[in-house]
Symmetry: D3
Subunit: 227 residues, 6 copies
């Protein structure tokens, strides 16, 4: 499915493959992994392709790990048996908040894949997803707390924070960084208020998307795989 | 812009950057390069990400070189000065004929970029593109010549041929391969007849796309870069 | 200098080299970068050497980026001119909390290097470090908040949080993750209380170390470089 | 064996190893693969060694794939059981047409290896090679069709074509490219006439070489392996 | 354990892991391998990290191979069964003679590991180590033979030689190189005299170290693994 | 030129390119570097291609370094100005002693290149080569000293030694290793006697080869480059 947050567009797909990584074999548990990447032309100035450079950059790996960790928080991996769900989040167009858009979209792709697996009889537990997951970026720009910053504002934010939350009111992950400045604890609190309110809106959008026959705003490229 | 041929979807963008590769410096000529890639989830069975493997596969490099070579056939690189046009062709969904779709779409992205460069006063020659370029795949399936094979037919074709042609009736590149079988010269002739007819249709579609305010079937992610 | 937190030992050194990365040239500003790594025998079970594998893992890159970002928060990079300070944090023995030990130790190595640079007349501003930086890990184990977890406890923590703070009472970075579980906002607050108290103790230790003729607990291998 | 076409010299050897690649296991079929490479000093200006660069270039991979595909067209892989024939084509001296020399020489090395395997009782079918394979390069230089271009002419050819054919009169592969120019279909026909005539001559030479006790123009370095 | 030769400090550890490399499986024999590396800040001028460069340099590989080969000379690999002993020699501070310090220290780490294995009942032969191993560097500086050169002298030595010897009076490896000069056989003899005398001193030091409850000059970071 | 020692064949070529590595710029001195490699089919059992593996093995790097160091011992690098001589030693067929054959052959290729450079007026000093260089391998097999071991004997040698010597009676490099056994100093002396006698024979052969219009036993592939 294709997620759009303002000018940011991320294509999120879930693929299920047989087997798990070596270190997890014979555990009876499945695995969920994620890969985030950005197309070279997604940014204002074309960035080099990581496959051509021959290595995955630190930022890409860091976000891939974050997406995987965030989504593993909502799924019971015993229910899918020794299979692996791969979430691919490819940024087609970037304008700030790509990592949080990736998490929010990956949740919908994951839910959809699980529904499909359940219909195909591939689940031990019919409801392996325990809660909804969404993520937002918040920041302080010109001294004021702002939700979901576009690139132009993000690049001059004094504090930048990403929050991953569940629809049951708890936190999955929180990462806050002063950008060339440090920040008092009171700012952290305000940022968190704003972020949690933002997540509430996203849970509503996700539920609407999942209620559609095919979730998402565009005809899904990945849909053909499942039918 | 996003190109669709049946179930195949390729995102083609053109980016202009200052400078040329070292071996071409101080020549007064520009350069045009292309990179083709496939998203992991584009195929029926998820394929590993080349950035994660740490190297670009032979097939990917071969197609990237073909796309670049094909598009360099239509442009006067002296007109753009010592600048580089990078064509990115990313396959979002694959169902056969991705390399020819990439070439056909890349031509539209290139034309569009050149129009934009001209409007910005960045061209020595106002019409650096000398002809249209399109490409099709043709094959022999069950003994019959077929145009633009979907994956299911492509994978059992006896002969597979890719033809890149210009709208002035000449050939840019022809690659024909017997797949587990060899073929007589008479088959080559029939495949070529079919391919050239197919290209004629594509030239019409390309002209229609380029006549639109924004070429292509979808709101273009790359459009924002140019305005 | 060699930092010890319980059984965790990290060797932190600061090296100054002329010049800055290409994207920063002609800015008049210096740069500070960090590299974190773990010796193969530092962990209970020997881990493969990243140089032999031919690539730096995601975790290593993520921590290197965190250390660099944290230390850049305290230094005025205009004062060092177009030079680069490289902080190397090599874990000789790991028993939990290696990334926070690295940050805390790197601050001492950085202060020491800056003092040396100042004495050599290489600083525009005699006091380019604006505040102290220290970091701690906190977690929830068996439902209770715990500071500076050893490996055995860290591996079964329900929530894990790293906090980087300044000695002026502000935050530089906060990263909190539910490990197989999510956590309420009230837990976040408790963890933060504990972390900030822990940082206060570290600021005292750092000041003592910097007051010694040679900072640190062991004869410093890197000391010879500075004299 | 060592193949010479004018100043071009390519060393072609066939090695048989037990087993097949993973994706082909338990099929009962063998596999044939090829690797093409150029020694650094083979060209007029020394080219860097690909092993030192750490990656195989696009051109090298493209030719390796072409050689393998071409030779697979003549052999019944069921006859060799689950074994792999590796064809190595190393260019000792390059003066145009290295890829077609490699294919033509690899056929002789392959025939020789198959004869040896048959004598050793390792073949299900005593005649697994169904036809002869040879390849030539043709081009248009200064408006005229030329066969087997040396480097000096090749580098200024307007059209360049490689043709792989069988001694039963059919085509295996055809690759034609306009070099900075496009070409009409009538040129394609003339190039093909010339190429097929050239292949006829090569089939005669190959048969002569295979009729010798040890095929080829030089004492074979690889011969000792077989006795 | 940490080895110090003048200003050179090398951390040497031995780790035992189950299994052997593929080519040695089902032989009933164990394996011993070594990895030598230098921390970036070990040298006067910081050197780049090999993991970041993505490849291990020639010098590093050469020394790793030398250390492994030298230590395999003293141990009966049948006695440890199909297990692998990995010796890690990490140079914390370099001032000449790092490779010979690594070998000398690795012997102590190996002896210690074997004693531990024996106590744990993991040895077929209670005394699998047949002799002591030590190594020294010798050189000719300003026309005079010198033992164990520090970096300043080493870098202007006319001849440089590394000798690995046993405490039973035999040689394991000898490597002598003229540095920008060649040398007569009489010099070789003098260097060897000096080297063998130097090794005798080291055998005494090693025995003292091994007689301590924990061998070595510092509390061993690797010790915790064994108890 | 092509060197043959028994069944071992090594192709050695010297190429001169403008410029020197960065660390040597503006010194007024030239540089000499060497690269050794083995074709996959050179050994009895085909070995994988290092370019395909993506990295150069330790053994290959070690020998490349040895060849370069050995040949630098005989040439005055000031005489060639800031140019680089690259020696490529590619083993076409291996039967023991490939590294010493490479050094011995590389000397002839180097002399030839220097003669050519001198004739072209590219040398400050008309005689930049101060001595001849040759190398042999010696070993102890079944308790007896043997010169220039073929593979079958080399693989069961108890001691293996490579000696690089000059035709003025001095040593350039000596590397002796006990293979699964150690050796007394008296054996070292006998090996050296045998090696130096062997080198004498090679100096005679080299002089004969260099006296020919084109040095070497076969029509030289690299010759065309120089005329």
């Amino acid at each position: 499915m294709l997620v759009e947050f303002g000018q940011t567009r991320v294509m999120c797909t879930a693929s299920v493959t047989e087997g798990v990584p070596p270190w997890r074999r014979d555990s009876g548990l499945g695995w969920l992994t994620a890969e985030y990447a950005m197309l070279p032309a997604a940014t204002h100035t074309r960035s080099g392709r990581e496959s051509v450079k021959g290595k995955v950059g630190g930022r890409t790996q860091e976000i891939s790990r974050l997406v995987g960790r965030s989504l593993r928080a909502c799924i019971d991996l015993a229910a899918i048996g020794e299979n692996t769900i791969a979430l691919d989040c490819d940024v087609l167009q970037a304008d700030g908040g790509t990592r949080t858009a990736a998490i929010t979209g990956a949740y919908v792709a994951l839910s959809d894949a699980v529904t499909y697996l359940g219909a195909a009889g591939g689940l031990a537990d019919p409801q392996p997803i325990s809660c909804g997951i969404a993520a937002v970026s918040v920041g302080v720009v010109d001294g004021r707390v702002r939700l979901d910053l576009p690139y132009e504002e993000d690049s001059r934010a004094e504090v930048d924070m990403n929050v991953v939350a569940t629809d049951t009111g708890t936190l999955v992950e929180i990462q806050g960084t002063g950008e060339g400045a440090t920040f008092p604890r009171s700012t952290l609190d305000k940022l968190l208020d704003s972020a949690l309110a933002g997540c509430e809106q996203l849970f509503t959008v996700q539920k609407e998307a999942l209620a559609l026959p095919y979730p998402g705003v565009l005809p899904e490229p990945s849909e053909s795989k499942k039918k």
